[in-house]
């Protein structure tokens, strides 16, 4: 089957895709073609870009699974039953005792925003909030979470409003490939609470005194548990500054204008290939 990604015409769905869409009607309208998405982003700038992300977020958040969709293994060993809150909704799961929270979210609840990076507590891509505090879902056995409240990246936005940290990440270009981003954002949200409680860090000058100022050095230290292989750190630090201060700092990037794009396609007066 040949695929023409540049075609403006509606690509026909495969049988699998149609079945998926049927099972998850909330997804309809989210899967815009990449081309439409790019045009929207370029034309509307950040507003539409954010709106598009938000549409995906809220669709994911609103998704309800059919009763048999929470797929416990057919013959699970050592089944444990856990009742907990996930993004404000009560969930009761029956899981193999080995299931870590990250796998419960991704494989059993279709909440794939939390990412599996290293799966051994070294990269931070799986960071979620439990009772408002940031933790690593890859090292948390779900069985231990009875009665606890889990918030994932899917649960941060409310209705049509991005969480301020999400908006700040978009505004300050705090990502490139985006894989570490859900973890970075959940981590930054957790960090805000830690600052509010006056918690210290390794770079806090005097631990016996209250922590007062969230400097760049403090942000860097406090976000060090989240690795970004694209190296979007300057944007991440700017986003945390912005979200924490509540002061709208200037966006340091913008989409290229048609003139700039045309210029960038020329080098020393010659058209590049």
């Amino acid at each position: 089957m040949s695929q023409d990604f540049d075609s403006d015409s509606q690509t026909e769905l495969s049988a699998d895709e149609a079945a998926l869409l049927h099972a998850m009607p909330a997804l309809e309208g989210v899967g815009k073609s990449r081309r439409t998405f790019m045009i929207n982003s370029a034309a509307g700038g950040i507003g539409l870009f954010a709106a598009n992300l938000l549409a995906q977020e809220s669709a994911m958040g609103a998704m309800t699974l059919s009763p048999d969709a929470a797929t416990a293994p057919v013959k699970a060993l050592n089944v444990v039953k856990v009742a907990l809150q996930i993004n404000g909704a009560s969930q009761t799961l029956e899981l193999d005792s080995r299931t870590v929270l990250l796998d419960a979210l991704r494989e059993h609840l279709a909440l794939t925003g939390s990412k599996k990076g290293c799966d051994q507590g070294q990269c931070g891509a799986c960071t979620v909030l439990v009772d408002g505090k940031r933790v690593l879902s890859c090292l948390t056995l779900t069985a231990t979470l009875g009665g606890r409240e889990v918030t994932t990246i899917e649960g941060l936005a409310t209705d049509d409003q991005l969480h301020p940290v999400q908006a700040a990440f978009i505004k300050h270009d705090g990502f490139q490939c985006g894989y570490c981003t859900p973890g970075q954002i959940c981590s930054a949200v957790g960090l805000m609470g830690e600052i509010k409680r006056g918690e210290i860090s390794h770079v806090t000058e005097d631990v016996s005194k209250p922590m007062t100022r969230l400097t760049t050095e403090e942000i860097r230290e406090r976000m060090s548990g989240n690795i970004c292989r694209c190296g979007a750190y300057p944007g991440i630090v700017a986003a945390v500054h912005d979200a924490h201060s509540g002061q709208q700092t200037a966006q340091t990037w913008g989409f290229a204008t048609p003139t700039q794009l045309a210029m960038s396609n020329q080098e020393d007066g010659h058209e590049t290939v």
Binding site: V80, D96, R98, Q120, V135, T144, H202, V207, S208
Partner: protein, 330 residues
């Protein structure tokens, strides 16, 4: 991960029974080390006893000082006002370790029990006397840049990697332990971890079924509150294990050192308290020259391996710098 039976205990009286019949049972608290090791197939418990609901989270004053619950998290402990004020060395050491996420999960009891980060211990394809007694030590003649320079034996050259314990050693903390029969005992933290000898599979003095209830900090350790410093040297400036770390604490009377505590981390199978360095410091005036003498004394018996001779020099310089900062001379 291998299958295991999951059991949650709600009170201390249920702990004994939960552990009794299963020699391969393990307590689970924060899980930051145990779950990782289970995924790596290094730890293979057949039963996990979840102790997170036990009432061991409190940090409170006692007649002898401060009792820090075994299940209080590292974050809660480092940020507790009484610890920040009276034992800032402990706060500093805790926040020098891991990441914000991990410190929110990790408990004090679990932190004491964390296992070595020796690469060969983690690699189940390699021989390791700690993981599989009698199989040999791959690190002895392998890549041993991060390994021990003090107290090691031919059977094991691994180090204890933690930060929190280094401060506890300097503060003469005690570990309150509940035995399987329900009796309680206090173990001085300086006797809690073991040197490898020829049984490196045993990291510490606990027996099967022993449960850490609390870490107790003596009132007297508060005398170091004004002059202590935790220095950690690592390959990157955050979120990495130490190459060398130093917990330095001074009790000063003017310029004269009334008493001193020096503990080195990541140089031996347990935090390495240097009685030699402390003896040199005691009674002398705080000065860089005195600190250098103490540093030399602390490393006099060092026996570096093929790739870690740098640790001897690094440890000496780190001791001097930590003491200079503790004395507020730098």
């Amino acid at each position: 991960m291998r299958p295991f039976e999951y059991v949650r205990v709600a009170d201390l009286s249920s702990v004994t029974a939960a552990m009794a019949t299963t020699p391969q049972a393990k307590f689970l608290a924060g899980g930051t080390n145990l779950v990782d090791l289970m995924k790596e197939d290094v730890e293979r418990p057949t039963r996990i006893v979840d102790i997170t609901q036990l009432p061991l989270k409190q940090i409170q004053r006692t007649r002898s000082g401060l009792s820090v619950g075994a299940l209080a998290t590292n974050t809660e402990t480092a940020n507790h006002p009484l610890i920040r004020e009276n034992y800032p060395l402990l706060s500093q050491a805790i926040v020098a370790g891991a990441s914000g996420q991990l410190r929110n999960m990790a408990t004090n009891g679990g932190n004491l029990l964390q296992r070595t980060r020796c690469n060969y211990f983690y690699d189940v394809a390699m021989p390791c006397n700690k993981r599989e007694p009698g199989s040999g030590c791959a690190a002895r003649e392998g890549l041993n840049r991060i390994h021990a320079i003090l107290g090691w034996t031919e059977s094991c050259v691994a180090t204890y990697p933690g930060d929190m314990a280094n401060a506890l050693y300097a503060l003469n903390a005690n570990v309150r332990v509940r035995a399987a029969d329900g009796s309680e005992r206090l173990i001085p933290v300086t006797d809690f971890h073991r040197l490898p000898g020829d049984t490196p599979q045993r990291d510490n003095m606990l027996e099967h079924g022993d449960l850490i209830l609390a870490i107790e900090l003596p009132v007297s350790a508060g005398e170091f509150a004004r002059h202590s410093h935790y220095l950690k040297v690592r390959d990157r400036s955050s979120y990495a294990f130490a190459m060398v770390s130093v917990a330095a604490a001074l009790d000063l009377n003017g310029e004269t050192i009334r008493q001193a505590r020096i503990v080195l981390g990541s140089v031996a199978h347990k935090p390495w308290r240097s009685a030699e360095a402390e003896a040199i410091l005691t009674g002398r005036a705080a000065s860089e020259e005195t600190f250098q003498k103490a540093a030399q004394a602390a490393l006099r018996d060092a026996r570096p391996l093929a790739h870690n001779a740098y640790k001897v020099e690094l440890a000496q310089r780190s001791i001097v710098r930590a003491l200079m900062r503790a004395a507020r001379l730098a």
